[in-house]
Each structure stands twice: as C-alpha cells, then as structure tokens.
C-alpha cells in the first residue's frame, strides 16, 4: 500500500468526484492499455472473415472495425479521409480516379501492402459465383491499372463523384493478394488488431499489432475480447454486472434501468437507418399518386416514434436520405398526420373510400406488426381501411417484400445519397421495391452522380428528396436511432460516428479506458 492511508485514499476519492462534478470533460489525452470486452448482438454460426458476406454487427465491428482496413474511411465527424489510400483525385467527368496508396503498410503475416492487393481484393466481389453485396460498386469499375506498387488508376463505366466514399464500404476491405483464402480463414488484414482466436457465433479475441500507421491517433486497447450475446436481456445484464465494457443495441424496454445505473452510459445517434412501407406502383391503387399521398397523410409519425421506437428516433419525411448524409435536405415541408387532407385526396383520386392490405412481420423491423396496427388505427380517421396481414418471419424477404403490394421493410441507410437512391430507387435495380419511376428523379440521379461540384450536387439531391417526399411510393415514417451503451470506464473523443451503431462500428479503434 505505498504509504497511502485510508484517509488519504478518501481524500483523493473526494477530489476525483469533485472533478467529475465540475463538469470538466474527462476526455483528456487518450491513453493506451487494457482489454476491451464487448458484448455484441448480431453474431451467427455462419460468420467468417469473408467481408463480402458481412451484414450483421458482430463481424462488421471486428473485420471492418479492427482487423481489416478499407481504402478510405468516414471519420467520426462524417468527413472522408484516407485509410489505406493516402490521396486521390478525379478527372473532370469523375470517370477516372487516381489513388495513391500508403507506403510501408504490412499485413499481419508480414506481407507488404500494395496495388496488387487492391486489385485482387476488389476483383473478389465480381468473381464468378461470388455473392457480394458490394458487387454493384465494383462492377462499375471497367478498368484497374497499376501504375506502380503504390499508385493505381480506376476507370469507371460512368462518372461517379462518390467513388471514394463507396470504397469506405465495410464489404470492401483489403486482403493480401495470392493469400486471400488463407486471409479469409484466419483473418489476416492490415488493421490495428490481429486475430488471436475466433469461434464463429461465440467469441473472438484480438490483440494489438506492435506498430501501425495509425499509431498515436487510434487503437488504444492492448486487446479486445468480443463475446456474442444475441439475447437482449443477457447483453444488458452483462454490462450491468461489469462482465463487458460496452454493448450494442440497447433493449428499449430495459433502458430506464440501464440509465439509472451510475456505472453505465448510454450513447445514442441518429443515423440513416430508417423503416419503410414500400408500395408497388405497378399495382392498383398504388399507381395513383393521390392514393399514395393520402396514405402519407394518414400515418401518425410522432406516435410511431414514441410507441415503436420508444422515443429513440426521429420523424422522417418519405425519402431515404438521413441526417448522416452529406446532402440531407431538412427544409422540405413535413408530411403530417392530417385525416381531413387524406380524405379529400381520396376523393380527388375519384374513390369513395379506400381499403388496402398491409403485410408486416417483425422480420422487417422490430415492432413492424405493431407499427402496421398503429397505422391501421390512425388511417381509420381518414376513412381508409388498412387490413394488417401478419406474415411469417421466415422467408419474409423472399416471399413478401417486393411481392406483396404493400409491406413493411427497413434500410440501414447508405453513406452517400447516390448509393441509397441507386440501391432501391433507380429504375430497374434488383431491390427496386416500389417500381416508382419518376422521370425527373431518374434524370437527376444520373446527372448528380457525375457532378463533382458540391453545391450543384446539394441542389440536385435536395430536389430528389423533395420529389420523393411528394410523389414517391414509399411511406418512410421514421429514422431509428442507434442506441448503444458503455461502462463509464470507457471514454472517447466526444465525437461519435453515426454511419452504423457503436461509433460507426469503429469503437475498438477510437475509444480508450479513461
């Protein structure tokens, strides 16, 4: 007890608590050390280090957030910066991109990182028989030319100003060329943490690499232990009893208990994640814009945020661009709950009343069936009959979504406007879940994509959001927040990313022990 008396200890304790009470942020210098223990939902026995297959938080956090690197990274402040790429520039039509790669980077097995790794890692997504979610991004690259080991030129089939943004996608991580299979089996990347052990769907143990190009700006923990805890109560329990230091996806029902616990902090961000009710416009009555507008005015959005998300969200305005997007347009007139207006819109459509079926299952999003029933109740005041059809969770995405005329759906959102629109709203894409084809909208989508001038893009994307909000065939009632929690032993820079949950899934790199 190095000469510290009990009284002395008490005094320092008092001093510490007074410091805390003065409100001086405890965000002093980041410091190294400690083992971060995570309790993460979203793990599966089918998990692997193949980023092409990643779709759930456990693997995204570990692969994209710790073990592997992308070419570019969206910082906690939303700004794009280089990760394995040092700098880039584009031709005037945004068709030809020149990327300079970081030098002196090595993979965990000692192999040096270079242009060949980039080419092979990108080609993985378009390989014969590969099933990658990033396939549309990579297939838009018509040519990859290696200038030297640390410079590469991409030629795109059409201009795309967002190209560097797209390369920050969590599917497009860099693997060592010629050793991809081994890298997928063992988890060999260029990230700040290397894999010590990995048991799919159960647990992973990572340790800090000795030296890394991000040294001094990230990667403070010595090691990371991630435990898969898919059950919400068990996850909250693990945090409350100090078995883990941070958990994702706070269970809203037990959130007040968590909030009451002095050793736990909840952190919450509104990102692009949103819930939708897409209508198929090739089917009657959804081909009629008045009917679509009537339905948009017969949903009580605030009630839905309060009851389905228990307040952890934000009212949305029937377009999929969210607060985490660069060109989010917050000035569009809000579609409000207005039964009278909905009634007169139905009349304008030349109908006496309206009866429609709405298919929902909780596979679409947590609480989708309840949301559909709330919708049913609020629409009744407008004289609209909504038959809620509860569908089975199993096979929902195959048998209901894009098949039934009107159903519930969710999107985690995309980091760029173009990406979001071209995933689900560009005419003819596989996930075109409304078949809504507005010529001005489609035209703007193509023009904005190749435009490098930021102000012009802001105008165009703003107009697209406006068109969709008024004319579109998707009711988008709300953005759902990312709500996570951590022990007060952990701290961070004060800026938390909102692209995904858990500080854009980069908590492992960005946080430290206070």
């Amino acid at each position: 007890m190095s000469g510290l008396s009990r009284r002395g200890l008490l005094k320092t304790g008092v001093a510490a608590s007074m410091l805390a009470a003065t409100g001086v942020p405890a965000r002093a210098e980041a410091k190294k050390g400690g083992t971060l223990r995570l309790g993460i939902a979203g793990a599966n026995t089918s998990d692997s280090w193949d980023a092409r297959t990643h779709s759930d938080s456990f693997m995204i956090m570990l692969a994209y957030g710790a073990v592997f690197d992308c070419l570019t990274e969206i910082g906690a402040d939303g700004q794009l910066k280089g990760e394995l790429a040092e700098s880039w520039d584009a031709s005037a039509d945004a068709k030809v991109w020149n990327f300079k790669l970081r030098k002196g980077v090595t993979f965990h097995n000692g192999k040096a990182f270079g242009a060949d790794d980039v080419i092979e890692s990108l080609n993985m997504h378009v390989a014969e028989g590969a099933k990658s979610a990033a396939q549309p991004i990579v297939s838009a690259i018509t040519n990859m030319e290696k200038i030297n080991d640390h410079e590469i030129v991409f030629t795109l089939e059409a201009g795309n100003a967002d190209f560097p943004f797209l390369l920050s996608d969590y599917h497009i991580v860099m693997y060592p060329a010629g050793q991809v299979e081994e890298a997928i089996a063992k988890g060999i990347g260029t990230g700040m943490y290397k894999v010590e052990s990995f048991d799919p769907g159960v647990r992973a143990l990572l340790s800090r690499v000795d030296s890394h190009y991000k040294d001094g700006s990230a990667g403070w923990f010595d090691s990371v232990e991630a435990v898969a805890i898919n059950d919400a109560s068990a996850r909250m329990n693990a945090l409350m009893t100090g078995q883990v230091d941070a958990v994702n996806r706070v269970d809203f029902k037990t959130e007040p208990l968590l909030r009451a616990n002095p050793t736990v902090n909840i952190f919450e961000v509104t990102g692009n994640q949103h819930y939708t009710f897409p209508m198929l416009t090739n089917l009657s009555p959804f081909d009629n814009v008045k009917v679509r507008q009537a339905l948009k005015h017969s949903i009580n959005r605030q009630e839905m945020v309060d009851k389905i998300l228990l307040g952890h969200g934000r009212v949305a305005n029937d377009h999929p661009i969210g607060p985490a997007n660069q060109y989010f347009n917050d000035d569009i007139a809000q579609n409000t709950y207005d039964p009278d207006k909905a009634k007169s819109l139905i009349k304008e459509a030349g109908l006496d009343g309206l009866t429609v079926q709405l298919s929902a299952a909780n596979a679409a999003f947590a609480g989708a069936v309840d949301a559909a029933q709330l919708y049913q109740a609020s629409a009744k005041a407008a004289g609209i009959n909504i038959d809620v059809i509860q569908e089975p969770d199993d096979g929902y995405w195959s048998n209901v979504w894009m098949k039934k005329a009107w159903c519930a759906c969710y999107w985690s959102g995309r980091s760029t406007e173009d990406w979001m629109f071209s995933t689900a709203y560009e005419a003819g894409v596989p996930w075109w879940d409304s078949k809504w084809d507005n010529s001005r909208f489609q035209e703007l989508l193509l023009t904005a994509r190749a435009e490098l001038d930021s102000d012009k893009r802001r105008d165009m994307y703003g107009e697209m959001q406006q068109i969709m909000s008024v004319d579109g065939a998707t009711v988008i009632p709300m953005y759902a927040n990312y709500v996570d929690a951590h022990s007060t032993k952990l701290t961070n820079s004060g800026t938390i990313g909102n692209v995904f949950q858990m500080d854009s899934s980069r908590l492992v790199e960005r946080w430290w022990f206070a």
Binding site: S48, D50, S55, G129, V227, A238, S398
Partner: protein
C-alpha cells in the same frame, strides 16, 4: 448376467430404429418450415439468382428423397455431412479452401463438450442433493422440514427457467458479486475458471431438476415404509435413519434411478433458455441457431444426439434397476 447383455443388445437395436425414425421426422419437419437455408442466409438480399446459386452449391435443388438418402448414406458411414453455414462460407471463397473445415462433427463437438460439462456439474450437485433431501423428507415426513423442502423445490420447478436464472443473477452476481453472470467459457480456460463460470447456470438447472428427483425419492421410500419387512426392522429397534437408508432405499432405487435418468437427459437436451440467459456456448444454442438458418445437417445431428441421449440414459437406468434388484439379477 446373460439376460442383462441380451437386454442391452435388444434395446440398442430398438434404439437404432428409433434414431432412424427420428431422422425421418426431423428431416420432414425442417423441410416443411417456410424458407430454406439460401433464403435465411441472404435475408433481404435474397435475389432470385443468389438463392438459386446457393441452393445449387448445397444440393438444395435436389428433390426431397434424394437429399434424405444422400444424408442417410453418409450418416450410416459415420459422416454427418458438412454444416451449410460452413459450406456456404467455402462456396463464397470459390474453391475448396473450406474443405476440412466445418464438418458437422467439428461444428458440434466443442458445443457438445460444453453441454456435457454443464450437465455434469449440474448432476454432481443436483443428484446427491435431491436424494439426500428426499431421504430426509421421508425420514421427517409431515414435519416443517418436509413441507419447507416440498414448497421450495416445487416452487422452483414451477417457475420459468429464465426467471430462476435472473433471480440467481440478482442475488449472486448483482447484489453480492460472488459469481460472474456471463458464462462464456472457451477453449484454453483453466478448469477452475471454467467451473466458476459454469456455476450459475448449473445452480439454475439444479433448482429446476431437484424437485422431481427429490419427490420421487421421498415417495418411493414412504411407499415401502408400510411393508412388513420394514415393520420387522423397526421392531428390531433399528434407528429410523438406518431403516430408511439400509432397508428401504435399496428397494426404492429402481424408480429413483429412472427419474434421475430422465432428468439427466433433460440436462443434455433442453437447456436452451438457460444457455441463452448466461450466454453459455452449449449445443442448445447451436441447435436453435441451426433451425433458424435451416442448416439441416446440423439440426439432424443435434436431434440424433438428443434422441441418443434419451435412449442411452433410459437403457442405463433400466440396467441399473436390474442390477440393484437381486431378484432380477439372479432369475430362477
């Protein structure tokens, strides 16, 4: 002893038939569920092409009987096949990088080991405790002790498992932080740490299985207490404890052993809820995950293990009943 080995052979033969029937039932049942592995793994991304590609990789495009026969012919040769979850992974890689990885046996073995460890720890606590309490309850029947033991064990068996688990977490992990609430055991953990982490789930399960065994012990003993030979023992002036342990208990063993076997089988097959609450990586979790994923080879193998556990434990119970009974041991 010839009759005993004959019984064993007979029962093992019947057991094989049962396993065969179970495998057909499970295969059909999983097949009847809506959706298949391709759809569940792709989720929202289940475009027609992607679904077809995965189905083809895994042979899911084959007709039902062809798939079953294929599985069966492998199973009788001891090859339980490849887990779809892992096979899928290797097909993504595009070559046989995944071969050798992810066979069903490799997927299940560590989980099964964990389940057996938990069942073992629970049995070590629960069985002696239940028999001991049962004997005491029979000895002090109709007393406060008997009533208290009955009320306690019956109320714990009547409570849902997750409720008991949370009560124990509250008492032993939150209010008095003695034991860890997270039982995420893994390879390379020292035995004592593993034991410490397993203790809370084991205690929960103990609460659940004790009542059944204890009440059977008590009932079986009390049943015998009216027999003339017990009367005789009492008349000889033997102490009540000795009467029960020495004279009544051996004759009551058969039903007690049967109930113990049933409860042990439950410990192997039915502890998903407890595993979930404590995040214990046992076979129950794997089974539920696999049903959700429609990973038929793993589901089949789990079911065979579950059915096998029941068959073997029942067989063991019957044999031990025979061995505990001299009249059956030495048939005229």
């Amino acid at each position: 002893m010839g009759s005993v080995s004959k019984i064993i052979l007979q029962r093992l033969g019947l057991g094989l038939v049962t396993l065969f029937v179970v495998s057909i039932v499970i295969f059909t049942a999983v097949n009847l569920l809506p959706g298949d592995f391709a759809q569940s793994i792709l989720g929202q991304g289940a475009t027609k092409d992607a679904v077809e590609a995965i189905r083809k990789d895994l042979g899911l495009d084959q007709p039902f009987f062809a798939r079953y026969l294929d599985w069966l012919s492998g199973a009788v040769r001891g090859d339980l096949g490849t887990s779809f979850a892992a096979a899928n992974f290797s097909s993504f890689v595009g070559s046989d990088a995944g071969s050798g990885l992810g066979t069903v046996a490799q997927t299940i073995a560590p989980r099964f080991e964990n389940t057996m460890f938990l069942a073992g720890v629970t049995a070590m606590i629960a069985v002696p405790l239940a028999v001991f309490l049962g004997v005491l309850a029979a000895l002090y029947r109709e007393t406060i002790f008997d009533r208290a033991a009955n009320i306690f064990t019956l109320s714990s068996i009547s409570s849902p498992e997750f409720f008991l688990a949370y009560v124990l977490i509250l008492v032993l992990a939150v209010l008095n932080p003695i034991l860890p609430s997270l039982s995420n055991i893994f390879d390379g953990m020292s035995f004592s740490e593993r034991l410490e982490r397993t203790l809370l789930p084991a205690l929960t399960l103990t609460l659940i299985v004790t009542a059944h065994m204890m009440r059977m012990t008590r009932a079986a003993i009390i049943n015998l207490l009216a027999s003339p030979y017990i009367e005789m023992a009492r008349l000889k002036g033997i102490s009540p404890m000795r009467v029960i342990v020495k004279h009544a208990l051996p004759n009551a063993l058969a039903p007690i052993i049967n109930v113990i076997a049933l409860n042990l089988a439950y410990l192997i097959t039915g502890v998903v809820v407890v595993e979930t609450v404590f995040v214990y990586p046992g076979i129950g979790q794997l089974f539920v995950d696999s049903v959700k994923l429609r990973d038929i080879p793993v589901v089949q193998a789990c079911c065979l293990i579950f059915a096998g556990a029941y068959i073997l434990l029942n067989l063991a119970a019957d044999i031990m009943s025979i061995l505990s009974n001299p009249r059956l041991r030495h048939p005229k």
